[in-house]
Symmetry: C2
Subunit: 419 residues, 2 copies
Amino acid sequence: MSDEHLGQTVAAAIDTQALWDLLMRVAEIGGLPNGGVNRQALTAADTEAKNFVIDWAAAHALSSFQDEAGNLYVRLDGSDTQAPPVFLGSHLDSQPTGGKFDGAYGVVAGLEVLRALKALGLTPRRSIEVVAWTNEEGSRFLPGATGSSAFAGSRSLDDMVRAETTDGTKVADDLRASIDATRAPRRSMWTVRPAAYLEAHIEQGPILESEGIPIGIVEGIQGVCRIAIEIVGETAHAGTMPHRMRKDALAAATRVMSALQPLTNAGDDILRLTFGRLQVWPNSPNTVPGKVDLIVDLRHPMQSEIDAVAARINEVVAQEAPPCRGAARIVSTVSPVHFDSAIRTRLKRACDVVGHASRSIISGAGHDALHLARICTTGMLFVPCRNGVSHHESESATPEQLVAGARVLAAAAWDLAQT
Amino acid sequence: MSDEHLGQTVAAAIDTQALWDLLMRVAEIGGLPNGGVNRQALTAADTEAKNFVIDWAAAHALSSFQDEAGNLYVRLDGSDTQAPPVFLGSHLDSQPTGGKFDGAYGVVAGLEVLRALKALGLTPRRSIEVVAWTNEEGSRFLPGATGSSAFAGSRSLDDMVRAETTDGTKVADDLRASIDATRAPRRSMWTVRPAAYLEAHIEQGPILESEGIPIGIVEGIQGVCRIAIEIVGETAHAGTMPHRMRKDALAAATRVMSALQPLTNAGDDILRLTFGRLQVWPNSPNTVPGKVDLIVDLRHPMQSEIDAVAARINEVVAQEAPPCRGAARIVSTVSPVHFDSAIRTRLKRACDVVGHASRSIISGAGHDALHLARICTTGMLFVPCRNGVSHHESESATPEQLVAGARVLAAAAWDLAQT
């Protein structure tokens, strides 16, 4: 049988009910009364979820390992155990009021691929490992993507775990406690380098759902640039100060935001330019505002575009702030990532093999794949989620939407494991 | 000697140093280290200031009285003690971090008029009383202008003193304690109705200073209308939600503020339209704002203009809020007051007699005169203050600026007292 035909067979063996049941079982761990999940990184619930996966693996005659960052691996041995494995994965940790699908879907879809292979009695050439990376969300402690960035060497684990959690505990202590509490043997992160990494995830945006397309093949992850704009005017009495003599910081901020608004009207709608935080001083109804702080969240797949818009923001602040003083400064920046075109072609072929329509899509949010892309061939696929809502307890996707992604993941994983 | 000539004589007897020294002495009561004043209504400092004035009156052979609202009166008997008196006044209470001049100037200028008349041995036909009204500021308890509005019958004193102060005490208890602690005999507010009321005050705005004009003859007090605008959109991820699908409440608020901005550019610069308070939810840098609350402070001397702009605000919210939902509602309104033209003519004549340039001016802030205007011929005059700053410890005016106003007050008071 051809590998393509076998890929189709593996995809067909993905079971809608098994996938859904496993996902719902994981969602009970840290589950909230209204259907959401609170399974923040390195909490008891997070460790419980890892132990659940370790037990599931043992029940399916699969081995589990855990590394220095608490990353959990479930391994299906290939015929060539010396060949670098294919990794499938995402994360099990959630936002404090998160949904059932963000992260958990990618891990569970990977486990269902392993279960299907086992059920079919098929052994790929390369081993396939499903990874649950530690603290992708960064809600309980920063920086997020702790496990994947340590694994990829893009950040030092020792540096990252020096922080405190929002519970007031030391990250290093929580990490040690969590690793000790799981039943998986240790395996240093430096002993295994993957041949490739695939991550399945809900889109966390509305594009696939609104276009009725089941699979998004992720081209890359947008770069993010945060710019703080400070506008300083002069407080004055709202009744007595004539407009011509005012230095109204909110009026100046309004001019700045208005002048930048046309940038968001481009037909391609790729640039994301959000004024999410605005604070006014003294914020009193009868006082002309003396100061406004604004944060701009600027995202685009091309660094050159981010740079151009950041420069334009500087210009607009200089033009529109007077008679107030205005200043814009970059406070953080993450460069865009572009996934390898060969892996996107493979994912497209997997969609064709499985028979699902797909489109190319840009990830607006960060993911563990951003870090893996630095060290191996990396790809991501998205499935729709209801109304594009994520990081919220109402996050939702249907079993059919989820299984479509898991089948494409299965076909692509088989394909990569045979190379 | 003609009354006009006598008015000139009284004005000339106003002593720059005496006026300044008395004002600085009052400013020591509740004085703050950096030159400001904290003499909030019905505090120990406020009562101390009243006792200081009572002692000053006694030292100048003038009688003092106090009414049910704690309003303090210092009286110079006229030749016709049965004729309704002329009132001169303002208030002694301050903002918690207020200045030396707001309110206190009008009281001290009145006392200096009485001192000058005494020193000249002149007796006007009508008695002249200097009044310090209780709680003009409304900073320690609301509503402000407690004393003057009770005196004018525009609000019930019993209703007003039911509230608690910011110190957690009952206003009624504080009022009783303050009255008992002063050394002035009681005189019911209903036993005296004035023939006229004049109030001298710092402008609390920048117009006189910027135009180099020493006296503002107040045409009236602007009406104030507070409008709350609520804009409800939908929160979304700043990275994943395309702009064409957003319901960004801050973007909608920006359109509303921009569309209203041209109203503030009128050549006459009379309308005051201030967005002083703006609050964003959830106010997180990576979340498209789901809700914005705005408060508009709208002021104009003509109620018809206030009504027209309020209607325009409704229109603009309806036009610019979509795709968000927007609603504007009036939360409070105070009608404009127009001072009697005859008294403005008298004040202009007093300026001519004293030899000071003047201009007609609108008061942007509320004053006790607003209430007195309901029951008697009422007028106000303004003197410049530095940079138009008020309600701030840096509030400032020069002895020369202050004496100019006191001289015009003296000439006008003499004029009115002879009628």
